[in-house]
């Protein structure tokens, strides 16, 4: 439950100190790579361009969705529309049942987490195997992903060694290479045996009906190539107008996520195998999912969050996320983007208190490849929450405390920054919480090192 955010954060910080260490280390490393990746190109120009393309697409989304659908059909793929999670699950399970699917391999996908697909497939008697190495670790542990990019980045080597020793019979001190090889063996057989591959999509190109997927391991290429049926579950906001737009987005997304010029593997899928020599799937299905996205699109401010390309850069830059990782947030989309997207997708009431889980330091916006004004959107949600009477003081105090733990000793600087970014009105709404934090600061356990120290250590 999202409502337990503050309590869960405290628990993680107090009871699982390894999580903060692992998440902070990994996100600082990612963030540094992102900075390098941006520095190699004219990142400001790329980001403004990407913002413009996404704004254009989102304000012509009806047009591009129809175009993508027509192209996909012409390419021999089948297109399905799902208004909500239940309908999306029904569609996928219907396809699996019709093709007598016994086992499914999956590529890492946030939207299939969002619609709770795995439990539904398992309930229907279908075996589901996550094939991204990090996701595979989490599936064995029965845990949800904690980060968009590194789903298991909150896990230490020791924890994976213990897990694999127990489940895959590897040596208790196996190095990462040995552990990865053991997983590869299990998963290679799974790919060969599977009847269906399920993925998300990074982009869907309207002009060509192309489902584009970025990755580094190759498991998504295998998932979309070996089984006889491929199902791509795609949020309706993933559209791009043309292939030439995709050229820019493939590179910008990779730079934002990991600093790479591009992912090691990109799959561009237009439809089922048609030509001789192609050993790809006989059927390709694209399930277009709304599940709250049209509500976000209709919202006066929050619609900008739909530009998100799920690169994880805002999570990596966020001093609050670094304290706990994604599990504290209680929903599949965590960190800064989760805090602005979840209220739109789930309704503000159900997403409380996430808009308050931020110090408004602005690092997320500076990192974001599509320039989503996350701090402004957080303040908008806070205003709405206040107008709807959704903000009990105690909760706000707890969250302000958590945020300040992450950013101490920058409270004054922070207040100044909020004021300069958002004007007096924004600051006036945000500052009372900081006052309450001062009264109730015993709640979270303070960080022994400040965020700035950690950050410096990470880059020097």
């Amino acid at each position: 439950m999202i409502r337990d955010y503050a309590a869960r954060s405290r628990e993680i910080i107090r009871d699982e100190p390894g999580v903060r260490e692992a998440v902070t280390g990994a996100t600082i490393a990612f963030d540094e790579k992102r900075r390098k990746g941006y520095a190699e190109v004219d990142a400001d120009a790329w980001r403004r361009w990407a913002e413009g393309v996404k704004n254009h697409t989102l304000t012509h989304l009806d047009h591009y969705l129809t175009e993508a659908e027509a192209r996909l059909r012409a390419n021999g793929a089948q297109v399905h529309w799902a208004a909500d999670a239940a309908e999306a699950r029904e569609i996928v399970i219907g396809l699996a049942t019709r093709r007598a699917v016994a086992s499914v391999v999956k590529g890492k996908s946030m939207v299939t987490e969002e619609i709770d697909l795995n439990p539904a497939l398992e309930e229907a008697g279908i075996e589901v195997i996550e094939t991204d190495l990090g996701e595979y670790v989490l599936q064995l542990l029965e845990e949800p992903p904690s980060h968009i990019l590194g789903p298991a980045l909150h896990k230490s080597l020791r924890q994976v060694q213990d897990l694999f020793a127990e489940r895959l019979n590897t040596a208790p001190d196996g190095d990462p290479d040995t552990l990865a090889r053991a997983a590869r063996e299990v998963l290679r057989n799974a790919f060969i045996d599977a009847d269906m591959g399920i993925t998300g999509a990074n982009f869907l190109v309207a002009e060509t009906g192309t489902v584009a997927l970025i990755e580094n391991e190759g498991n998504i290429r295998l998932t979309t190539s070996l089984p006889r049926v491929h199902v791509a579950v795609v949020g309706i906001e993933k559209l791009l107008p043309r292939m030439t737009d995709l050229a820019g987005f493939l590179q910008l997304t990779a730079r934002a996520a990991t600093g790479q010029p591009i992912g090691c593997f990109v799959s561009l899928i237009q439809g089922p195998a048609a030509e001789p020599g192609d050993d790809g799937p006989e059927e390709v299905h694209v399930v277009l999912v709304d599940n709250g996205r049209t509500d976000v699109l209709a919202h006066e401010h929050a619609w900008e969050a739909l530009r998100c390309v799920r690169c994880g850069a805002c999570l990596n830059a966020c001093p609050v996320y670094r304290q706990t990782g994604g599990h504290a947030y209680g929903h599949v989309y965590s960190g800064p983007i989760g805090s602005v997207l979840d209220p739109g997708l789930l309704g503000l009431h159900d997403a409380m208190p996430l808009p308050f889980a931020s110090s408004l330091c602005g690092a997320c916006e500076d990192a974001c490849p599509v320039r989503i004004p996350i701090p402004e959107l957080l303040l908008e949600w806070r205003r709405e929450a206040q107008d709807e009477g959704l903000t009990p003081w105690k909760e706000r105090a707890a969250l302000a405390g958590l945020a300040s733990v992450a950013t101490q000793p920058g409270l004054y600087r922070l207040a100044g920054r909020i004021g300069s970014r958002l004007g007096a009105r924004g600051a006036a709404r945000a500052l009372p919480m900081l006052g309450e934090w001062a009264r109730d600061r015993a709640l979270p356990k303070p960080s022994p090192r400040t965020f700035r120290q950690l950050w410096r250590e990470g880059i020097e």
Binding site: G25, W46, G52, N55, H56, L58, T59, H60, L61, D62, L65, H80, W81, A83, E87, I91, T131, L133, G134, G150, P151, A152, L153, V160, P176, A180, A183, L187, R188, T208, N216, G218, N219, R221, S225, I236, M243, A247, L250, Q251, Q260, C264, F265, V266, S267, L268, Q270, A273, E275, P276, G277, D278, D279, G280, L288, D290, T294, L297, A298, W303
Partner: protein
């Protein structure tokens, strides 16, 4: 498609159109001008090798297939059986037994083209995906004249005959999911080697 699917389609498109109409339709910013390398081949080599890809020089004094045969046998471990894509012409096929991709020591392909700015190989699905993905080593012949400076140029040209699927390979398979240590060859090939022709 189910009856429910049909109505969901109308519902989603209707809501999207109303949201767009209330906001006003924003224009497209045009093309992203990324710089084009003067020498695409050396740009490709730099980018591809810095992400772990390998570029090998063929001995041009010998027939290409003979050179490749010796090269594969000299790898560690030496290659016994290969899987070769149907697009590979006879003169570029090593003289080693053909085996199923799942059991091959190396997969051999010819790239449709390559991209300098991202260090990517462009591999169409007609080249047989299993050959490109299953063997631990992937050797790719790349025609030197088909290295595009920019991804946009390559994708624009690809539009003229887009196959069912295209893979862009820009280095070996990698993961840092366990203990933040980079390991290669997790699912796809652990070595990705380019030979220019």
């Amino acid at each position: 498609m189910s009856a429910g699917g049909e109505s969901s389609r109308e519902r989603i498109l209707g809501r999207v159109a109303r949201a767009a109409a209330s906001r006003g339709r924003l224009s497209h910013p045009g093309a992203l001008a990324t710089p084009a390398a003067a020498d695409p081949v050396s740009g490709f080599v730099k980018c591809f090798t810095s992400s772990g890809g390998e570029v090998v020089q063929a001995d041009r004094g010998r027939p290409a297939n003979e050179w490749l045969t010796g090269f594969l046998q000299a790898l560690e471990p030496g290659v016994v059986g290969v899987a070769v894509g149907p697009e590979v012409p006879a003169g570029l096929r090593p003289r080693l037994p053909d085996v199923a991709a799942a059991h091959a020591g190396a997969g051999i392909s010819v790239a449709w083209g390559a991209v300098s700015e991202s260090g990517s190989l462009i591999l169409p699905s007609t080249g047989t995906r299993a050959v490109q993905l299953l063997p631990p080593v992937h050797v790719v012949w790349v025609p030197e004249g088909r290295v595009f400076a920019r991804m946009e140029d390559a994708l624009r040209e690809l539009l003229h005959g887009l196959p069912a699927a295209v893979g862009l390979h820009s280095g070996p398979s990698k993961s840092a999911d366990i203990g933040r240590t980079v390991v290669t060859g997790v699912h796809g090939p652990g070595r990705c080697m380019v030979v220019f022709i």
